[in-house]
Symmetry: C2
Subunit: 274 residues, 2 copies
């Protein structure tokens, strides 16, 4: 059996395109509908109540497009409101980016010391720690909010002394503690992979949740017999919607997706806030 | 004649409280209604269309509260959409933060070389340059977008090597050019006054628009015979509304207002997006 309906993916902005990139690599036949709420990003500094509300609005918009699976490709919403979304949405499976990344880290840490970096909300909620402790309560987890990383990426300061100094400011504690596995708990951070690796040294393994999330999506669709027909052209059928055509969104999107973004549709914020 | 109605002030977030601070210092009898759209801040990286739309929604919310004067205390909205707001709103006078700051700079520059720093949108629109050229077309104006300054302030990195390095990155050009007057075209930047002055040297005069905007409000209300009765207690009667109770908003607000924020009312985003 196959299911031709799309996979719905949302993020507060464009960073969730890293998850789309991995889906398209693993499952090229799958059609994706992506929603980036660029009119209200970033979510990371907002209250839990507002993050949950925005997340449900984004999810509802995608559900109205007849999706077969919902991926919350936003670490902030996955951290604050995944339980709430799972309880509210009964029509399709819902997966976030936290659990797949957390599971991968538990499997990889030799010293059982894992670091997590992310937005203020992602770290405040201890979401990665809680997820890892479900698998192995003995793993020690150290979280650090890194709110400057996103604006640095968005300004294109990838290879810069400023970014190296900020990375040292945030990450030297992780070296002192002896963390051997560091989860990049924000979809923007993989773009800083080289600077981060250069700061913490090669002994510390960096983990990007995007890949593990796409694998989990594949496992679920396989188990449900709901993969797209093999002959489908997922790339051609996919749609990309954003709530604001922000300046330079094309180049930023390309850096996350790894190729130019196909045609983009703009939606009005009123279509989310109902 | 007097007018007991409040002055309406809005900003994308809490930075506009610097304007409220100056209003309360100059005109302690005036009642203020402040709206900070903390659920959607920052506006600086969004499209012109979205900035104009959000600005009108914020303005409309305050107009429904029977204000006598509207102050757009957001440099981004003042830069992108002040004309649009002035043309749309006919019931009360509308003033922004750009024109008062621009006028003050033209009066102060000896070498007729003025620098302007602000968000991407404020600089992209050349709003300060255009305003200065209305007064003196011979003044040379140099703009520089500084998008990292706001997240640095919000993370509390006021006195930090990172902030000094970022200030050098943005501002060394201004010294080379020989600018003698620098407009802080964003309400967050006065909190970085010491770092900025330390970077550019004491020969360069720094100008904060908040004070000049409050003075313009006073001039308009005086001309219209619409000041509040002298015996009014403006502080006690003022109201503060924000669209999200973001973490640490109290301490951030206090740093802008110069004193603890009185009781705050939370409004739902649906009250703005109608």
């Amino acid at each position: 059996m196959t299911d031709t309906r799309p996979i719905g993916v949302f993020d507060s902005g464009l960073g969730g395109l890293t998850v789309v990139k991995e889906i398209q690599r693993l499952m090229p036949a799958e059609k994706v509908v992506y929603l980036g709420d660029t009119a209200r990003c970033p979510y990371g500094g907002r209250s839990d109540e507002t993050i949950a509300k925005f997340g449900l609005q984004d999810a509802q918009f995608l559900l109205d497009m007849d999706i077969k699976l919902l991926i919350v490709a936003c670490n902030t919403v996955s951290s604050v409101a995944l339980d709430y979304l799972e309880h509210t949405i009964k029509s399709v499976p819902v997966i976030g980016v936290v659990l797949p990344g957390a599971r991968a880290a538990v499997l990889r840490t030799a010293d059982r010391k894992v670091g997590v970096i992310g937005t203020a909300a992602t770290i405040r909620t201890n979401s990665y720690k809680n997820a890892m402790h479900c698998v192995d309560p003995g793993v020690k987890v150290y979280g650090k909010a890194c709110p400057l990383f996103v604006p640095l990426v968005e300004e294109g300061l990838i290879d810069s002394d400023i970014t190296r100094l900020v990375a040292q400011h945030y990450l030297y504690d992780m070296i002192d503690i002896g963390v051997d596995c560091l989860i990049l708990g924000c979809t923007h951070y993989p773009l800083l992979m080289e600077v981060i690796q250069g700061t913490v040294g090669t002994r510390m393994q960096l983990l990007d949740s995007a890949l593990w999330t796409a694998k989990e999506a594949q496992d679920i669709l396989t188990a449900l017999n709901a993969l797209a027909p093999k002959e489908s052209d997922g790339h051609a059928l996919s749609r990309f919607l954003i709530s604001d055509l922000t300046p330079h969104f094309e180049s930023l999107a390309e850096s996350f997706l790894g190729r130019p973004l196909p045609s983009v549709e703009k939606l009005a914020l009123e279509e989310l806030v109902k």
